[in-house]
């Protein structure tokens, strides 16, 4: 499929080829060579702009869903943190009760608690 951008690029490059071929002519005067050189510079700039434009369009297409993905990732991280907190809460309950029973056990064994 020849896209508009690709068609334009091909036309620019065809022109570049013609200019470069003319620059091979040994009979050119300095002014003629300089003029052709200026045209070649400009065409080269346009060529680069068209290529960069295509590459940028590719990047934009690839990144279309990034905002949605970033939002989803933030929510997942928050949920992961909450799950860890829940697990820690249960652990603390178990640890606190465990520590309490240890204290009571030691107290009972030395007769401090009847």
């Amino acid at each position: 499929m020849n896209t508009e951008v690709l068609n334009t690029l091909k036309q620019v490059r065809q022109l570049e080829n013609e200019v470069l071929a003319k620059m091979n002519d040994a009979t050119l005067t300095d002014d003629e060579r300089s003029l052709l050189g200026s045209v070649q510079n400009k065409l080269s700039e346009i060529d680069n702009i068209l290529l960069l434009d295509s590459l940028q369009a590719m990047a934009n297409k690839l990144n279309e869903s990034n905002i949605g993905l970033q939002d989803l990732i933030s929510k997942m991280q928050a949920t992961s943190d909450k799950l860890a907190q829940f697990s820690n809460t249960v652990k603390k309950v178990a640890d606190v009760v465990g520590a309490l029973t240890e204290i009571i056990m030691k107290g009972a064994s030395v007769g401090l608690i009847a």
Binding site: T3, L69, L72, S80
Partner: protein
Amino acid sequence: MKKICVVLLAIWISGCAVLTESQVKNINAFAATAKAYSDFPDVLVRKLSDLHVKTELIEASAHRNDTARLNNAIRTIQSFEKSASSIADKFNLSLQLIQQYSNLLTKLSATSYSEDLGKSTKALGDNLTGLINTYNAKVSTKIPASVGSAISKAVLFVGKQLYKRKQTKALKDFLLAGNALINITLNNLKEVLDSDGFTIAGVNHPSMKTMIEEERKNFIDKYGIVILANISTPDYSAVKEYYETLKEYDNLEQARSKIVTSLGKFSAAYARLIQNVSNKKQLSDIIQETQNFIKDAQDVFNTIKDLLK
């Protein structure tokens, strides 16, 4: 009455289906695939840009004895390199986000939280058993030694079931939410890298596949006009340069093709994951899940039954 209450509570907590081991394994397998994925498309942009610069330098060499035009050409090339590098940096963003997403799926499906619960409640059980033994040494009406173990098992069972319920809901919600986004991203990648062209903001653009072909053709044309047309005697260096650059284009095309293939495998792994997690109709999974639950519940029930004799 107390026995019935304990069992009913356990059944209610576990009423919401939890993920099976095979489903958790599927999530981890997908996440491992995503984490190991290293075929990033930015290498294509960087290499294509390098090859384009080579062609531009060939054109620049046509400005014989014209320093001003040559310097203009060099400045244009430098500007192009800077812009291309900046664009290349943006090529990997979406894949990096998918990797982050899959890392979080792994974290959310981890069993380490419920395993940690097991360690804490074991310590609790040991302490309670020690306390009971001390108490029983002083009194005539003994408390069953297993009461400490019963309480710790009940805490573990309830905690684990509640945790798994929350974990399952979170995973399912995020897998569903991520499904559309990830499919769009993977489809866009394929379109950009492998189609005849793609559309964005109403404009048709050539794909990476097309651009590699076009750049290769452009190199052949420019090299022929500027270098080969001006060789009057056999020039091994010039021919070698030509040959090696064409090989670089071939390698670039192979790299592109490899990235497309690996993206295909990545897409397939993700599709399997979604299908597996959303389809809980396999009898073997339901039976296994039920058996795990029954075993855990029975263990607690038996311990409490002994306690209440």
